[in-house]
């Protein structure tokens, strides 16, 4: 057993989409209260479709790998489609993360949601996937594996 599978390690050592988009259409930065990780995502959006995405992350291996797959997965998706992606989709795409590390993928979900939220606010868009999303609310972490 290793802590991370090869795919996670591959995304960690060769992360895709690192950086910031100049003149980005949307930016989201989210800091996880669980482990102090921070992700910044910048998006290029055309006709409500994410045509480019880049990220910068201060965080552990799983946070970086999740950031990498998440930005890959949202590229080419409409905003509504992107909002439907949850951290579990990123984890699945990575082929799994160890239990206590699953929460790191939430970072990417939240940072992307936040970027789209900021975009929607600026452009007065009503998006189904943002219903109930309130970035000022305290993030609550469901730590099932506390006793591991």
């Amino acid at each position: 057993m290793k802590m991370y599978n090869d795919k996670v390690m591959e995304h960690f050592t060769n992360p895709r989409n690192v950086g910031t988009i100049e003149n980005a259409d949307a930016i989201g930065q989210f800091g996880s209260p669980v482990c102090g990780d921070i992700m910044e995502v910048s998006l290029k959006i055309e006709d409500n479709v994410i045509v480019d995405a880049k990220f910068r992350t201060f965080g552990c291996g799983s946070a970086i790998a999740s950031s990498s797959v998440a930005t890959e997965m949202i590229k080419g998706k409409t905003l509504e489609e992107a909002l439907k992606l949850t951290n579990q989709n990123f984890v699945d795409e990575l082929g799994g993360l160890p239990g206590p590390k699953i929460h790191c993928s939430v970072l990417s979900e939240q940072a992307i949601k936040l970027a789209i939220y900021n975009y929607a606010k600026k452009h007065n868009l009503e998006l189904e996937g943002l219903k109930g999303f309130n970035p000022d609310e305290e993030f609550s972490h469901d730590d099932e594996d506390e006793d591991e």
Binding site: M9, F12, P33, C35, G36, F58, C60, G61
Partner: protein, 397 residues
């Protein structure tokens, strides 16, 4: 791939000479040392020899050494034992904020039982203040427990001054010397120590064995009840091979001490100065003075320690974020926080601990890889010299 172990403070490999002395006691001289006559006596002799060796390295007499299952049990026994022994005298314990969890969680357990515990602050070098210690003492103080040397950033405490204060106020003084043993000269008599915890697997001996030094004349109740082993103070069939191994490791540690310290300090200082030269925006946690010879604990600004660890691991370099037992728990180091390090720097800290098998070549390899890895991770990071992470951005929960 090269494999370079730089986590000697977490645990050490058992040295060849140590394992060799242990081997006959598994399947040949396996007799129970408590049984009468021949077969038990061989094991009994082996234990006596090991006890002398452990006693010798700290200047104790043999009868003051009691074998336990490790550093953790020794800490528990010393603290709970003293608390129980002196409960009629008082209920106040003084320790520090940077102790190992074996001490901290034992103190917290006693707090739930009604004891009061003062956790002393440390300065930016990880050292307690003798004045603050003396001020913390009340009529109810029964125990001062201050670690000899810190496992995360290597600070060595002013043990002799602490014991002087303890003696002056007639308070029992315990020190967790798990990290100090074999790395710092220790003479319990000269230092005036009443109780001292030790662990074998930090000095190239086997895991699962340790000892508690109990000064002659001091009596504390048992932690583990049962048979009459260890002069009726620690029950349980003696772990003969492990005791033998601990004894041999202690003997080697004593014989090699001066050279061990000199060589490790040289390598350590080289490592630190090269890192500082070659990588911008790094800093050493703590000072070079009063520091364990093999300890390197540094901040690599703008990147997260765990990611750095993982990238190093990927190159066969094994380091750690701090104490092994908390590295699976992702909480920022209580030691570095107590030293006043801002939380974002705590998250960016990692520990390298070098040991007897570390070579200059290893260090040079690590320096090259480290330089490359830090550069790469900094490219991924949203932070840099011009955009420094703010403590407020990190919720320390």
């Amino acid at each position: 791939m090269k494999q370079i172990y730089l986590d000697y403070s977490a645990t050490t490999p058992v040295k060849k000479e140590v394992l060799e002395e242990m081997l006959p006691y598994f399947s040949e001289n396996f007799g129970n040392p408590s049984s009468l006559y021949e077969i038990g006596f061989e094991a009994k002799d082996a234990i006596a020899k090991a006890r002398s060796r452990v006693a010798h390295i700290i200047g104790a007499s043999d009868r003051e050494i009691f074998f336990t299952s490790g550093g953790t049990e020794s800490d528990n026994w010393a603290i709970i034992g003293t608390a129980r022994a002196f409960k009629n005298k008082g209920n106040h314990i003084i320790t520090s904020k940077i102790e190992h969890h074996a001490v901290l969680h034992t103190c917290e357990f006693l707090e739930k039982e009604g004891y009061e515990v003062t956790y002393l602050n440390v300065d930016s070098n990880g050292r307690i203040s003798i004045e603050e210690l003396e001020e913390a003492i009340t009529d109810n103080t029964i125990l001062i427990s201050i670690m000899f040397a810190n496992n995360e950033m290597g600070a060595i405490q002013p043990i002799k001054e602490i014991s002087r204060i303890a003696k002056k106020h007639n308070i029992v003084f315990h020190t967790d010397a798990v990290q100090a043993l074999g790395n710092v000269p220790i003479d319990v008599k000269d230092l005036g120590i009443d109780l001292m915890s030790m662990s074998s697997h930090k000095i190239y001996g086997p895991k699962g064995i340790g000892a508690l030094y109990i000064r002659k004349g001091l009596v504390i109740p048992n932690l583990i009840h049962g048979g009459g082993q260890e002069r009726k103070k620690r029950a349980g069939t003696e772990n003969v091979p492990a005791i033998v191994g601990f004894g041999k490791a202690a003997e080697l540690a004593e014989a090699n001490l001066d050279r061990h310290i000199k060589e490790l300090e040289t390598l350590r200082n080289y490592f630190i100065s090269e890192v500082t030269k070659r990588i911008p925006d790094v800093s050493l946690n703590g000072s070079l003075e009063n520091r364990l010879p093999g300890n390197i604990n540094m901040v690599f600004n703008y990147i997260e320690g765990e990611a750095l660890l993982l990238a190093m691991d990927h190159k066969g370099i094994y380091a750690s974020t701090g104490s092994a037992c908390s590295s699976a728990s992702f909480s920022p180091s209580h030691v570095l926080l107590a030293m006043g390090l801002p939380v974002e720097k705590v998250y960016s800290s990692i520990r390298f601990t070098i040991g007897d098998f570390t070579t200059k070549e290893d260090i040079d390899y690590v320096l090259d890889e480290l330089e490359a890895i830090v550069k790469k991770l900094r490219e991924i990071s949203p932070f840099n010299k011009d955009n420094v992470m703010k403590t407020a951005q990190v919720c320390n929960c």
